[in-house]
Amino acid sequence: MDMPRHWRLKDQRYNLVGTECLSCGAKQFPPRPVCPDCHSKEVQPLTFSGQGEVYSYSTVFQAPLGYEEFIPYTVALVKLKEGPLVTAQLTDVDNDEVRIGMKIEMVTRKLREYGEDGVIVYGYKFRPIGWY
């Protein structure tokens, strides 16, 4: 059921905690021990705002094991406001309404369950803003 692996990721999954490089100012999500741009090890945690836009998207009709109950769902490359790209599902939007450039915000949703008696994995997804 991968409990320890998912548990280790909760700061990232619940709160989009990444890193920023104190040497060159680059920001990374997921977090990195070494800045990929300038190779400095002077990085510190950074919590991203969750605001972003759709960079690319795809509606999935054949899912890998564990995600079949959600088909068809749309995944996206999300360009966070602060710069990095992150891979995530979109939610609270009709699959055929998604467009590149759509402005979105992070919400916390169920990523998957390990069966009816298994652990529930929660994490980030993104939904369109502008609904209120």
Binding site: R5, H6, L9, Q12, P30, P36, Y55, S56, Y57, S58, T59, V60, F61, Q62, A63, P64, L65, G66, Y67, E68, F70, Y73, V75, A76, L77, P84, L85, V86, T87, A88, Q89, I100, L111, R112, V121, G123
Partner: protein, 385 residues
């Protein structure tokens, strides 16, 4: 460093081999290759395989296959680099010979995917992606490539149908390859109407899951004549990496790993794209064909798909690709694919490609890619002077 030659090749048919196990498939291709090289023994065996542990519950494949192939005692281990495990094993074999450490080295790529079913297969392939940040979000490897394709289409104004000829060309060539999995041609129309898997990638846009094994035998170029009149020189072997996750790429629409790997290979071989007569590229999806052509210098950025539309990629064109069917129609038994690509380049350079023979090729290139562009391994082969 010594020059390295390929003195023997062997391959099984690619398909659904319900009756054959991993080790049986590997040994079958090994025996053909060793007979082709006229050898009974080898110093080392390197096995390329991605999913043996996951699907067949078998790790430790190098040793297992060496034993069952009659090579017990030799140096042997498995090499893994996701979908380019085959080329990685070849890289290992090349280094062993080039370094002077071994003389006769066997490289086998083997994969048995049909032991897993449905979504388990998709989950296995997704192991090539970033587990914590791509696969856990519900992405299959198809979905990762779909994200790539859709952005490419958006930036360059391409439509789904513009990629059709990559698949059509691959299938056309597979008709003439007795080892290919799918030997029927497909039409543009069929491609355009195919059901979506992860849009914009449809069923006819994705290389099929398959079983297969391919083997090459290497030796120092100086000794090649002892074994095979038709030895082929390995004039370049180069590996380059990028981020595993698509979202971590500096430029998601550029296969930096393929570019670097190709550049290193061109430099080593002292050639450029114009010298390449045959290119077995990594056409797991049509978008990868387009991007590979761009990264390796055969097309400008954003124009890779045009080479398919204008026929440049056909057997008769200036840059024939997938000459024996490619991943799309010959099939993609992932860990074995890299070795199949090299076997096919050798067939072309030896003039043994049958109905698919490209006219008088002297230089061939094979490029095997792991994940969505995380690792790229390029080999350039040449007819010796």
């Amino acid at each position: 460093m010594r020059d390295v030659s390929i003195i023997g090749i062997g391959q099984t048919k690619v398909g659904e081999h319900w009756e054959k196990s991993l080790r049986e498939l590997a040994v079958e291709s090994l025996q053909v290759a060793m007979a082709d090289a006229g050898i009974e023994e080898a110093d080392a065996l390197y096995v390329g395989n991605m999913l043996g542990g996951e699907f067949a519950k078998q790790e430790h494949l190098g040793t297992l296959i060496a034993d069952f192939a009659g090579l017990r005692g030799a140096e042997a281990f498995r090499v893994e680099a996701a979908c380019c495990s085959g080329a990685a094993a070849l890289r290992q074999g090349y280094l062993a010979v080039a370094s002077g450490l071994h003389d006769i080295v066997v490289v086998t790529g083997v994969e048995k995917m049909t032991d897993a079913l449905g979504c388990i297969t998709a989950a296995g392939l997704a192991l090539a992606a970033d587990g914590d940040y791509e696969a856990s979000q519900g992405l299959s490897l198809v979905a990762v490539h779909a994200l790539l394709m859709r952005r490419y289409m958006y930036e360059y104004g391409a439509a789904n149908a513009d990629f059709a000829m990559f698949a059509v060309n691959a299938h056309r060539n597979a008709v003439g390859n007795p080892h290919a999995m799918f030997r029927q041609p497909i039409s543009r129309d069929a491609f355009e109407k195919a059901r979506m898997v992860a849009d914009p990638i449809n069923l006819l846009d994705s290389a099929p899951v398959a079983d297969g094994a391919a083997t090459v035998v290497l030796c120092p170029a100086g000794r090649a004549r002892e074994f095979n009149e038709q030895s082929i020189r390995v004039t370049a072997s180069a590996v380059a990496t990028d981020s595993v996750a698509l979202h971590d790429r500096r430029d998601p629409l550029f296969l930096e790993s393929a570019y670097l790997s190709a550049q290193r290979a061109y430099r080593q071989a002292g050639v450029g794209p114009a010298d390449i007569d045959v290119f077995e590229l990594h056409d797991a999806f049509t978008i990868m064909s387009a991007l590979s052509l761009e990264a390796c210098g055969f097309a400008r950025r954003g124009e890779g798909f045009k080479l398919a539309q204008n026929g440049d990629i056909s057997l008769e064109g200036p840059i024939p690709i997938c000459t024996m069917g490619g991943l799309k129609a010959r099939g993609n038994p992932v860990g074995a694919t890299g070795v199949y690509q090299v076997v096919e380049v050798v067939e072309q350079l030896r003039g043994q490609a049958g109905p698919n023979q490209v006219k008088g090729p002297r230089l061939g290139m094979a490029q095997n890619i792991g994940g969505s562009g995380a690792t790229a391994i390029t080999h350039i082969l040449a007819v010796p002077n």
